[in-house]
Symmetry: D2
Subunit: 409 residues, 4 copies
């Protein structure tokens, strides 16, 4: 039986667990060493470290301190692993913790985090999803059930000092182009809430002041929120420090492409079962800059789709130049309007797009000036038929079930 190298106690603050950290920095000490070929287990908190609760109020989503996230487990060192190598990680399995068989999805307030459709959904909202074996369903979003495409939203190796410096420079330069923007353009280092793992004292303070936040995905992978990097996949990570320093967290039971609800997918605490190997000097051999991966042989089959198109003309009718972000937003808004015809509230429809195994495709990106994006809505997740018919849509939901919402304070 595989050893559990890192355990987390959901009743304990993640700040008290020194095998957890919430920043990226080369000096964060490796907490456990393994050998190539070893398999082992790692437990993780949910990304907020337990702040969001299984209840019917969105206050916690509204109030969460986003400088604290994401709580990661690690770093793990692999013997013989050196900068320039590829660290090959087989995700043998992922699951929720037995004492925590639920997850949450939500939208942040526009004043605290925002999200993809924050102009349309500016207030904090939340839905709770029960995990029943391989499936999930929500008391706040009726009429849907999905098998989980379970994955870590966040996984990657520690940066070296040079890469860290590059991250800090480009992001802070960027934030400085519009420093007062709400939501902000980026997340600068933030020492007070930094959890630097086993790094203590002065060394901790120095590193915390410059440690990269975990929010954006970067060259090492990190917070990619790629739903297909799921259990059963094999990932090839660039290595920058001796031992690799692999950390992970932000487990998702299910998510749609784009993680458009931001808070987030179906977020959960849980565990991963991993196996590691090394391709020596693999970064150069294969010209690898960002991680590459082979998806899992075992994923839910939701392959009957109704597909929505969007183009890069925004809600005000303004033209954007080959802007896939705008185009995908339009496709999402089109899908939400469609689902409302069956009785969903806009918020419920938005939640479905954020949590179901929805695909978002970059369909056309050269036909000036319009990008075209498509949103692929799986039809088998619904209890009823959502295809168009001559008779028109039937309202299957009566609106009696709604998602919790919290006014800004």
């Amino acid at each position: 039986m595989a050893e559990t190298l890192i355990k987390v106690d959901l009743k304990q603050s993640p700040y008290e667990n020194d095998m957890v950290h919430n920043r990226w920095h080369p000096d964060i000490p490796i907490v456990a060493w393994v050998k190539p070929g070893d398999d082992f287990k790692i437990e993780t908190y949910d990304w907020t470290g337990g702040y969001i609760q299984n209840n019917d109020s969105a206050d916690d989503v509204r109030d969460v301190d986003l400088t604290t996230v994401h709580f990661l487990s690690g770093p793990i060192g692999v013997e013989g692993c050196e900068p320039g190598d590829l660290l090959v990680v087989d995700i043998l399995d992922i699951g929720a913790k037995e004492d925590s068989l639920w997850g949450f999805n939500g939208f942040f307030s526009k004043k605290n985090g925002g999200g993809f459709l924050t102009d349309h959904f500016p207030l904090a909202q939340k839905s709770i999803w029960d995990i029943k074996g391989m499936f999930t369903e929500s008391r706040h979003v009726p009429g849907v059930k999905y098998a989980g495409l379970i994955h870590p939203g966040l996984i990657g190796c520690l940066p070296d000092p040079k890469l860290l410096e590059e991250w800090n420079k480009r992001e802070i330069d960027f934030i400085n182009t519009d420093p007062d923007r709400v939501p902000a353009l980026g997340c600068p280092p933030c020492a007070p809430t930094a959890h630097m793992g086993r790094l203590k004292g002065e060394a901790r303070d120095k590193a915390a002041a410059e440690a990269a936040r975990t929010v954006p995905p970067r060259e090492h992978g990190g917070n990619c929120d790629i739903k297909d990097l799921s259990r059963g996949s094999r990932i090839y990570f660039p290595v920058y420090v001796k031992g690799g320093g692999l950390s992970m967290g932000d487990l998702h039971f299910s998510q749609g492409d784009g993680e458009i609800t931001f808070c987030g997918a179906i977020e959960m605490a849980g565990w991963l079962h991993l196996r590691v190997n090394i391709i020596k000097d693999g970064m150069k051999k294969y010209a690898v800059k960002n991680p590459i991966f082979k998806p899992s042989p075992i994923t839910p089959k939701y392959d009957d789709y109704l597909i929505f198109e969007g183009i890069s003309v925004d809600e005000q009718g303004k033209q954007h130049y080959l802007d896939v972000h705008v185009a995908y937003r339009q496709a999402c808004l089109n899908a939400i309007e469609y689902l409302k015809k069956f009785g969903y509230s806009g918020a419920q429809a938005y939640s479905i797009l954020g949590t179901a195994p929805v695909q978002g495709h970059i369909s056309g990106v050269v036909d000036i000036p319009n990008a075209c994006a498509t949103l692929w809505l799986p039809t088998d997740i619904f209890d009823f038929d959502i295809m168009p018919t001559e008779a028109g849509p039937q309202k299957f939901l009566d609106g009696s079930v709604q998602m919790p919402i919290s006014e800004d304070v």
Copy 2:
């Protein structure tokens, strides 16, 4: 046997065929009427109307007059179809013309069209793809073979005057923000090369001066270049004019998400076999603004992938805000560098990404400031194994075969 309502003769100029047009305008006369439930065939030119030849020079790609494209067949009228309806189109089949069993792919010169990676591939290049039954292979790009995911790059209904005016206003306003840009920000109306079908004389000239170009996808669908809108799919089109006025063209034997090579997919002349039906008042019933569709039950199975990530930090290391376009470009460049390790030239690798059934996913679009996009490269299209191994990549190609290239003049 289904009747062929529109025939094209590839030896004749498309300007001489009055059942063809290359602009969108409500006044373009419907050339054939059908009834709901009818099935029928339509022949089409390739999008350039035969300008690009099956030879080993890229001069035609360099020199093509892009104000002439795309040559569409139609418009077809459907009895009883009225504004506000959804026109339901079943694509029963699509094929190449028997006397033209080949297609082309290319990159435009940066000075005449450009494209997704025009800064990396600024000169005109071309590859020719032979169609052998359901498969294609190229004498210019060795080592790959694919079954065709055949689709119309361009299909949609005529706009009404109000929609046309909206298109013109927003696009011309936009072009005017940087009118001298190369490549241009958009394609304004261009009367001289307009082919207005059966509209003649003064009426033709008036309409040609304001008719929308066919390049961008818009609310009606149009040039969406969605590879999955393939034969066997069912599409629900918004209707703006009496009869619908369905036109189509720009057939592709195969294409990757994004059609990143712009010129284009594997472009071909051919035919479509369609069936049409109507959902009365469907736009309002289902809140449909852009077309929606159900993909085909019969598509090539290329479901073993190697996946490349890209983030919205550009080639110069500059930070962009949740910009999926930049992120996808990085994923594509990463894939090209990877394929070069197996012996492909950059241009060949770029061609593969433009022509193979590559998927482009919007993987993360909320983790400020980085968007994350993924490029899914199907591994079964290659004659050799392209997965990473401990031994490193093997050069399967010796570089003796290259793609035609033409210097700017």
Copy 3:
């Protein structure tokens, strides 16, 4: 454009076309030679050579002379191909003839052919299926539509004299164990109706007297009726005579596993586009006795199933020992009874099982004394929902449409 090596004229008797034959014998002269790597086209009659007509009477199914079938096109010789080699055949495409866009399905009378469920359906019946692009539907079987999984029911290389002798001996010995059985135990040689291609005169008569009938599948492949040996697949055939001598016919637009209706799948005249290659001495290298194959990358996706079980206890409650034939019959009968609850006649349900891309699995074959077989009914082929619900089945069909039936005479 690929050359058509063998043409058939559907208005001409197949006996008048000397590039056609209906028996297996080493002496049948090769009618066209190709080289390894060549691709070419072959036209074929339907298996009955045009006897079954597109009409609303089953008389032709009742009266057909089964000693005349199957009319094959060939043999094709491949230069350099020798006994012991594997002949690698890529089926690049298959289609119906443009002047014959329909197919037939039927059940033989128990007195002339019989079939899998002949005790339940003892009379001749027929359904006609129209081919509309990649899809088919029938005026005799409402409520279903499928994309075609098009394949040759029959394809293989000529036997050598030794193999032919082995076939004749084992089959005639077997027939002789119950020579008067109806339906017969096997199909012995039958000279009068033999079509020996270009073999004429005395040589023809001698060969016709010993030539193997085309009905059963044998070591060389032949009449395997494997629905998955479809266009896009690659087959490795054992070679017994110089040049290989590849012949084929019995094209099916669609068929279920088992071809349980016997007459047959959706039977059609059409063409194949093939490419051939050779693996020298491949039979020994790979221990190949029967053909092996790699299925197509492009097949219809009907992957939502309702699955029926059957065990090897027959309709009279009698126990059979691990008899998969009996078990599959029970699974089929169970499916037919189920479909009748939605308004289908038994004959229509039987036709669906024979023509749709139904899977038949050997699920358990060791749990004495019962074999367990499963029939996988694709649910997406139906216009309505056939899954069980608490409310019970809805009768979607009113019985006004029925299949032609013909009494025995």
Copy 4:
């Protein structure tokens, strides 16, 4: 969290657990009651109740007393469930027990059990498979790894007295046609080793004397060994007694169609997470005689196949009449001979066919006298390429690893 209604202690004899039984009889008392809509967990022994050990000797496979199997957990009663209903069972998940992360596969001695290829492999052999997350691999069968298609080999409801009597009569009549056959034609009741759950004393003895053995699949489902009845599937069971009386066991981590190795698939102890519902009077409403089911949305994707054909001519060249059992045996033998060319022993190849997600199709069953069966070998389970090439097969294995074998005593 779902309640575990039945627990098993792998260190305790199953005979000591009164929530376990190894026979089918209406009088076996229900051990736990649930309500429609409830979800709950059930633990089970492996089918032999722990007799087969994780070691490198096949003695236990040789010596096992087959009158003791299969040890089932149950019966579970569902409130309101009555004869004639359909019991709807959602398999929400299945897993191995944490303290028993391995499974076994083996062939019985021909003298004690036999199996599908017992004439070719007459001695007891065994392989042990480690379970690593969602994957399995064996120290006795190198070069393969598969994700688990986890399923209960055996699940079903209690028979009523009438059905039990029917089973006994037809099977005993059948055994009596050749009572001394080895292996036997069937498994008659056997009181001494019967475990009748909570039925005790005289009632137990009476019932044990007539209780049906669990070996064959029957009308109620039972030991179907259908690999696709896996976690995530929904099954509709016929109900014969008040409460239903659902029992289950014989968990398989992975199995090929046919379970040809008989002992068995990859056999394991574990748990199921189920949800139950009722369709009142569903047997009649839907004409259900045997269980029907909808397969899981989440199964391993092994969809690249090399397919082997077999016909109903046996190893001695003898002709059989449309005998799918013989045909499938030939397809299996063909696959074994093929795999031996890559260095596998025959026993290892046989084990792969028994344990991997191999498909067995009834391909043709009407072309007298030969049935045609196909065995679909997934190619992605191998560490190396097993497709045929012009160069011939490469021996990847050196024969240094072999499967334990035990001589008969």
